[in-house]
Amino acid sequence: MTATSLHLELPTLTPEAETLRQEVRAFIAEERSSGRLPPPHRIGLGFDREMTKRIAAKGWIGLTWPRQYGGQERSALERYVMNEELLAAAVPVGAHWVADRQSGPVLLKFGTDEQRRFYLPKIAAGDLTFSIGMSEPESGSDLASLKARAEKVDGGWRINGRKIWTTNAHRAQYMIVLVRTSTVEGSRHAGLSQLIVDLAAPGVTISPIISMAGEHDFNEVLLEDVVVPDDALIGKEGNGWNQVSAELAYERSGPERWLSSFRLISELVDVLGPDARAASLEELGRLISHLLSLRQLSMSVASMIQQGQSPNVEASIVKDLGTKFEQEAVRVVRNIVSAEDLISNGRAERLKALLIHAQQYAPAFTIRGGTNEILRGIIARGIGLR
């Protein structure tokens, strides 16, 4: 790919997608009026098993998957529309997010029919939470340098290693780990494999790590002689790197990459009212213009994926831009709040709480799921620089 081939297609939303949007809005309105969805005081996907069950009951987890595995065979754009509606309304979706976005699709693409039949319907029913076991204490951006290993034993694999920053490991039933299963001369990427680990298995020790935002979301997961059966292997032994690369591409361009601080903007708009200073409107207008353009890109990528293209560079661009936007939004809201003196007069307690939490949370936006420097390396390669 060269600079000239950055590619975009204007998305057109089907009537089905718009119908689904209205259904999701109706669901949200009902959740709100019944008091189950109070306006948020915090940033983040949240974690609420009951909410996940209610979303599952609508058929909205595994929306695009084949019916035989509990899905609805709807389009990627419909899934996109559903997700942006849920995220913009700050519906807690953390209990199924990773399984729906990543673990399920990986099983669908690389798993055996047996694995799909076992896991996917449970995910779609909202019963399973998955964690991602990639990062290690010594392997972050340089994931291929990871040290966790699995050796072949009779009827399965024995895993040893240490995973870190594992979101939801303390709440999930399963973790898909990336481990080394063989050494291939001359290639760091060959010889890695993905295995499904039951987090309740003997030898698994999960220790909390509290984030600077004061939450227990991620963990350190120690794996000591953890034995998993043969059918815990996803795809082919040694093909883990390719599988993970495909997986990471799924997570780059979704609306979760630019809506994390949206609730802060909507809260500001609510509190600000119609009579703001020109300078505040200028800052807010700039933010909204970036929001609208990100949404346009994110929809385009979803639409291109649906047509069978693989817009990997474009997806990396969405994530680089989107996560920077999420941080920028925090700065801008903070400035408007002080310029307009919104907090000191006591009419904005929720905004104040959200702003504090968003500031504490914001550093993670440009790190999680691969740092922006690494993303820009991918973009640079895509435009022909490396």
Binding site: E84, V269, S289, S293, Q296
Partner: protein, 347 residues
């Protein structure tokens, strides 16, 4: 892209390639219009493309015109192309017949214009007027109580004080103790400004895209420390960041040119403002001193970005307008409004 649109674009790209070279671009700084370019554009009906078919034009859409102007922006084409294309359309809308000559066009929000029915404009003054000496007529779109008024004046009736924009193209101050006007009522002033702004936005986008592409190429050509500078991570990171801006501003600009709703158009110009700023900084940084020389072609695009960035509503104007569309909404109604505005065709 529709068949028609592809045809328009290929036609104009061919014309630009055949008629516009560095010397012709540079001559614009001496107030010389690239006349072979404009002869070809007129001959191929491009200047009348926005005029309805039953009035002698092609009846093309704003989206079609945006594609043409994007190509013109890439090529750093000087002269009143946008002004003529849109001006001819406004004349047709107003029911005024004119030849297929070139036009200049300005928008005035708050200056004193003659009352309805008057045929003379006394103590007239307009600023920032493109290429007034190269056109037959100067059009003024003015805000009025009922919406907008179009004032048609003979270009040679004005006294011209020459002023240049950052690209060296004429943007004159025109004055007249008294000048004859033909005037007509047009629709909504803000909607007209929006159309002009998105067409200028397309030119801005084209100039950004050219600068980006040229810089990526240059990074692969220029060697320092024994290797291409494209191999340095600092250079890669800068250009990746610019790629972000290019893609983001292209998407919203295309959507705005198709949908033309108030929020998309405002968002496009706001987003393009940031993209233009980044393009100027990053493409020059990548080029080192070479890009700073007048001789090298980069400045023919980046100086146009400087000239165009705040045309037809400044970047800040569009940001205020955009925020104004959402001010007063609640935490629950804000998202549906953003979401609906983001779909081409929405109100």
């Amino acid at each position: 892209m529709s068949e028609n649109r592809t045809f328009f674009r290929e036609t104009v790209e061919r014309i630009l390639a055949d008629t516009l070279d560095k010397a012709a671009i540079d001559a614009a700084e001496e107030r010389r219009l690239p006349s072979s370019l404009y002869d070809a554009l007129v001959e191929n009906g491009i200047t009348l493309m926005l005029v309805p078919e039953d009035k002698g034009g092609i009846g093309a859409s704003v989206g079609d015109a945006a594609v043409i102007l994007r190509a013109a922006g890439e090529a750093a084409a000087p002269g009143p192309l946008l002004e003529t294309m849109l001006g001819q359309r406004l004349l047709a809308d107003a029911g005024i017949d004119l030849t297929d000559g070139l036009l200049s066009l300005v928008f005035v929000d708050d200056s004193a214009i003659p009352a309805e029915g008057e045929t003379e404009w006394r103590d007239a003054a307009i600023h920032d007027v493109p290429w007034s000496e190269a056109v037959s007529h100067v059009l003024v779109v003015a805000r009025s109580d009922s919406g907008a008024r179009l004032l048609l004046t003979q270009a040679d009736g004005w006294t011209v004080t020459p002023v240049s924009d950052a690209a060296g193209e004429p943007r004159d101050t025109l004055t007249a103790a008294s000048i004859p006007v033909v005037s007509a009522t047009l629709g909504d002033y803000d909607a007209l400004l929006r159309t002009a702004s998105i067409l200028r936005g397309a030119q801005i986008l084209g100039a950004i895209e050219w600068s980006f592409r040229r810089s990526v190429e240059y990074a692969g050509e220029r060697k320092q420390f024994g290797r291409e500078i494209s191999k340095f991570q600092a250079v890669q990171q800068m250009l990746a960041e610019l790629a972000d801006h290019v893609l983001a501003s292209a998407g919203i600009t295309e959507a705005a040119a198709e949908g033309l709703n108030a929020s998309l158009a405002a968002a496009a110009r706001s987003r393009l403002g940031d993209a233009a700023d980044a393009a100027i900084l990053i493409t020059h940084q990548v080029h080192g001193a070479m890009g700073f020389s007048l001789e090298y072609a980069l400045n023919s695009r980046t100086r146009r970005l400087m000239a165009w960035r705040d045309d037809y509503g400044s970047v800040l104007h569009w940001r205020r307008a955009l925020a104004g569309n959402f001010a007063g909404l609640t935490r629950e109604t804000f998202w549906p409004a953003v979401s609906d505005a983001g779909l081409p065709g929405a109100a």
